[in-house]
Amino acid sequence: MTDFHRYSAQNSRKSAFFTLASFILLGVLISAVCFYFFDPNVAAISGLSISAIIIVILYFNASRVAVSLSHAKEVDASQEPMLHNIIEEMTIASGITKPKVYVIEDAALNAFAAGDAKKGHVVFTRGILGALNRDELQGVAAHELSHLRNGDSKLMTIVASVGLAIGVIADIASRMFLFGGNNNNNNSGPLAIVAIVVAIAGIILAPLLAVLIQSAISREREWLADSTAVGMTRNPTGLRKALETLANPDAITRPVKAHQSTSHLWITEPLLGFNSKDSKERKKNKKDGKKPKPSKFSTHPPLEDRIQRLKDQEVIGG
């Protein structure tokens, strides 16, 4: 239990830092664009306020699209009694409102959650329902409901959208600086020079940093969801065995209709699946007994590391 609390606190701090970083990045970028029209002070203020407005708007409109993108169908308790029971158990353990339950008719092994603690959606593929036993499914359900309880799905949707916004604005800004005509802003002092340097650096680095931040937050959130799930079920073994099934090199984790922008929502990275480089690497690693290399651009920590951390908790006694 102490371990679970330590991880939670650690991850919350990191995520707060990353969210702030996203906000500042977006703010600096918009400021850079504004600097083209106004003097540095006005540009900085308007940049930060536009950034704040964008983040607030995204917060209230996020995650509705994710479920419809996956072509999931809602199921009631008479169609999937066990799945509904498991979700209800985890609802009691987590103290959130029972989310709506969906199934994707797809042989892939995966699941995801969207929404928040009050209005959540959890989606399972037909494949994962067939491949895992009750305890394992409970671990997966606990992981997904942890995302809802911790506000991850919402946060990640915002972060992804901010990333997109940063990309678009950086593009606009670079065109303006390269092909811009008359610059009305003639005040040339040390402040203006600093502002220009910051603006150019921002335009070049912002989109790259955005992707790195997005992936880093996502990985932190996955760790947090794994540890919260163990806190909820008091049973690290269920989730560990489920992840082992998913880590099997022959497991297909990529649903046919998974959309790239929802990658961070799934329990395992849906776009690295069967026949992909990831799967081949996993097979090779298994043969050589090597540990996989974590990528800075990956939205999930390596499954092998997640399994190892759950094993550690089993030894401690969860």
Binding site: M82, N85, I86, M90, I92, A93, G95, D135, M232, R234
Partner: protein, 184 residues
């Protein structure tokens, strides 16, 4: 004049602190009651499933009367329990009686294949798990409230506002850290 204002200020501050502490105790008491209601719902649901289970099992394994009688008795104990401690003990009794019933049912392939039986088994597993999770929430709330009732300064408010200690949902002969898990 100045002293009067200072005294008035001190009284107002103490009053506000008192209100805040009182309200925190009330919200904890509500949390405990909410937690108990959740356990109660599941215990009732579990007891309601038993008659159906008994009649299903009787259809396939009528001569296992001892096990069936144990389950029926354990069920009435759950329904008759008054305090959380009694309810916890009765619930544990029901769990072990059901465990024996499901162990016996292994010897009847027809029973094990019956859809009705499988559904009941799933429902009973689910309610047992729900009781276990609701119990975590309830016992945490009780712990939080009892600590506040016993520690300074809330203990003063608790004394005057009649906030009694709440009882844990724990049977006398088990530990709070028992792992809530069922495997059939």
């Amino acid at each position: 004049m100045v002293t009067g204002l200072i005294i008035l200020g001190v009284v107002v501050v103490i009053g506000v602190i008192g209100f805040v502490l009182y309200n925190s105790l009330v919200s904890l008491r509500n949390k405990v009651q909410e937690g108990w209601a959740q356990i109660d719902v599941q215990l009732t649901r579990r007891a309601d499933l038993i008659p159906n289970l008994i009649s299903t099992v009787k259809g396939y394994a009528s001569h296992e009367s001892q096990v069936l009688r144990d389950v029926t008795e354990a069920r009435s104990a759950v329904q008759g329990a008054g305090t959380p401690v009694e309810a916890a003990a009765a619930n544990d009794g029901l769990s072990s009686a059901l465990g024996r019933l499901f162990a016996v049912s292994e010897g009847y392939p027809d029973l094990k294949a019956s859809t009705n039986f499988l559904q009941l088994q799933e429902e009973l597993t689910a309610t047992e798990n729900k009781v276990a999770y609701a119990r975590q929430y309830y016992n945490n709330a009780v712990n939080e409230m009892n600590t506040k009732i016993e520690t300074v300064p809330t203990n003063i408010i608790a004394k005057f506002g009649s906030f009694p200690r709440a009882e844990y949902f724990t049977a006398p002969n088990e530990t709070v850290r028992a792992v809530p898990k069922v495997e059939f």
